[in-house]
Amino acid sequence: MDKDIFEGCARGERLAQKKLYEKYYGKMMAVCMRYAHSRDEGATILNEGFFKVFNKISSFDIENGNVEAWMYRIMVNTSIDHYRQEVKQRNIKEFDTNLHSYDTDKSDVIADLSAEDIIDLIQQLPTAYRTVFNMYVMEGMTHKEIAEELQINEGTSKSNLFKAKAKMQELVKMKFSVNYKLLEK
């Protein structure tokens, strides 16, 4: 099935392209939304990523390669590119090398959140924190790898992850306090 779709995409057939897009939309959109600050931005990144997929599809070895992993990598790279572009344009100064302590016992609270809630929280993080958080937590990259990829130093990467988590907690707290207030009413 995938092979037919891939061959159709390689020939530039619109129907095949739509099938591939529909098939992987959910998984790939989830990746892009994590890196974006809004759903619309996520959709923009997704389409940029799929644009690359359609352009490079003829060079992909469908017999031996893992389609999903390949597309996932493209989406992550596109998201990082998008972040770099934003840094360049907006001169983001959200990096901070000071580490602060925060309450680490929040796993039970997080467990109560839905995936949509978590995405919503991640999207509310400042761009730099969000990017490092995604790369470390979701992609499993080391601080050294993140530092190389984003052209920052390792300390900054650690700090941003730390702050991302602190901010997440703050946002969770806010979210729950609102919920509790609503329940009290």
Partner: protein, 462 residues
């Protein structure tokens, strides 16, 4: 905390947002644009190729024409010599000699008179004779190969002409031969004829006169530039400013545009007055304007204005030049031509000012500072979009930059210039060129721009 990360990871790994048809439609637009991008690139390449081929063809044509006219010019030069003061001197000498001969009224007296003239002038002219012979020999040797290859048939006729000269001939006989044949004689033939003449006119005044003529001819012929078509290849770099009188919705909007051109121009002169030019250059047309455009009057961004509109592309100018006034170091000329522009990229900067009354926010809104912007603005650019970026202009305003493929694939400007060229060295000159430019084809969106530009550059003449 690792457990918290694990929870997040596991929750998100199964998360799949539902398919959105709108996202696919945006994807389709991107894919359609990709199809459109290709022709522009191809056209750009065609334009570049045409420009280079045109320059090359003009160069080859000019070279060939220059070689051909070199020979034609020989005739002109011979003609000039025929009418020159030197030639008049020949006539005068002949007339004087004739008068002397007539006044003596006898053969004996004629001989005496002739001998007197020869004796009086032979000393002063003997050096000139030697120089002339040397000069003729040198020229003959240096041009032998060219002459033979170009005029091999006529070379035979020159020998025939030379054999017509009788020994101890008079200047009148020579002159008659020259008059009969001069129009058909080429340079080498004339030289051959002249050498034969010198050999055959023995110790006479006329001999020296002929020598003078030959020397003069040789000198004239030695000035290579006279027989060469003026061929110019110029390298120009221009930076121009223009005051535009843009017509928009039947209103005149005055604003300053920035026009920059940088590239190579080749020019070939045809004759002394007319020339053709073409070339290739990078162009940058930047308009800074504050006009409301129908493209941006959506209710959700009433305070938005287009601050900048820039088109970058490749131009292939083609036109004619006419020399109006020319002296050794200064030339005034006029230039009429068309700038054929192939736009590559258009950058539009839309600025959103702080709106005192927040506009109605439609669906899919984005908040930029204090302004809510509809994504329909993005959509208005989406069909041709390369990239978009955001920029904070100040605390109360925000700019969005759209880099798009220009809607038009071809633009053209009519250019009428009055130029001044001043020589700095033998080959190098600078130009100052005020011009009037009129957008004649798709200048920029709905506008029809025209204005005055001033540009300058350097010209190297080969």
């Amino acid at each position: 905390m690792r457990s918290e990360e694990e929870i997040i990871k596991s929750k998100l790994s199964t998360y799949k947002p539902a398919f959105n048809e709108g996202d696919w439609q945006a994807m389709e637009k991107m894919l359609d644009n990709k199809k459109d991008k290709k022709p522009i690139f191809i056209w750009w390449k065609y334009g570049l190729a045409i420009g280079i081929i045109s320059l090359f063809a003009m160069g080859v044509g000019a070279y060939m024409y220059a070689n051909k006219t070199k020979n034609t010019n020989t005739l002109t030069q011979v003609d000039a010599i025929n009418n020159s003061s030197v030639n008049n001197n020949i006539n005068n000498k002949v007339n004087n000699t004739s008068s002397t001969i007539q006044s003596t009224n006898s053969e004996a007296s004629m001989k005496v008179a002739t001998n007197d003239i020869v004796q009086n002038k032979s000393k002063t002219l003997s050096n000139k004779e030697t120089n002339t012979k040397n000069s003729v020999n040198n020229i003959s040797a240096s041009n032998k190969s060219t002459s033979n290859s170009l005029f091999s048939n006529k070379g035979n006729s020159s020998r025939n002409i030379s054999t017509q000269i009788p020994t101890n001939t008079t200047i009148n006989t020579l002159e008659n031969i020259v008059q009969d044949n001069i129009r058909s004689m080429q340079r080498n033939e004339f030289i051959s004829f002249a050498m034969s003449s010198i050999d055959k006119i023995n110790q006479s005044t006329e001999e020296r006169t002929v020598c003078n003529t030959i020397t003069d001819f040789a000198n004239v012929k030695d000035k290579k530039h006279i027989s060469k078509i003026p061929l110019e290849f110029s390298l120009t770099a221009q930076a121009s400013g223009v005051i535009n009188l843009a017509l928009y919705q039947n209103k005149v909007n005055l604003y300053i545009d920035q026009l920059s051109d940088a590239g190579v121009l080749g020019q070939v002169m045809i004759g002394k007055r007319f020339g053709l030019y073409t070339g290739i250059s990078y162009v940058d047309r930047l308009s800074k304007r504050n006009v409301d455009s129908s493209l941006y009057n959506d209710v959700s961004y009433t305070n938005s204005v287009v601050k900048k509109d820039k088109i970058e592309g490749v131009a292939i100018p083609i036109g004619v030049t006419v020399s109006l006034y020319k002296q050794a170091y200064v030339q005034v000329y006029t230039k009429v031509g068309v700038n054929n522009i192939i736009p590559i990229r258009q950058t539009t900067v839309v600025e959103f000012n702080n709106d005192p009354i927040p506009p109605t926010a439609p669906t899919n809104t984005q908040q930029y500072g204090n302004t809510i912007v509809s994504s329909s603005l993005d959509n208005s650019f989406a069909s041709n979009l390369y990239e978009t970026s955001n920029k904070t202009a100040s605390n109360n305003s925000f700019s969005k930059v759209y880099k798009t493929k220009p809607a038009e694939k071809y633009q053209a400007e009519l250019q009428i210039a009055l130029g001044l060229k001043a020589k700095m060295t033998k080959n190098l000159a600078f130009t100052f060129e005020p011009a009037y430019r009129l957008g004649i084809k798709n200048r920029s969106r709905t506008e029809h721009t025209h204005g005055i530009t001033v540009s300058g550059g350097f010209v190297y003449t080969f």
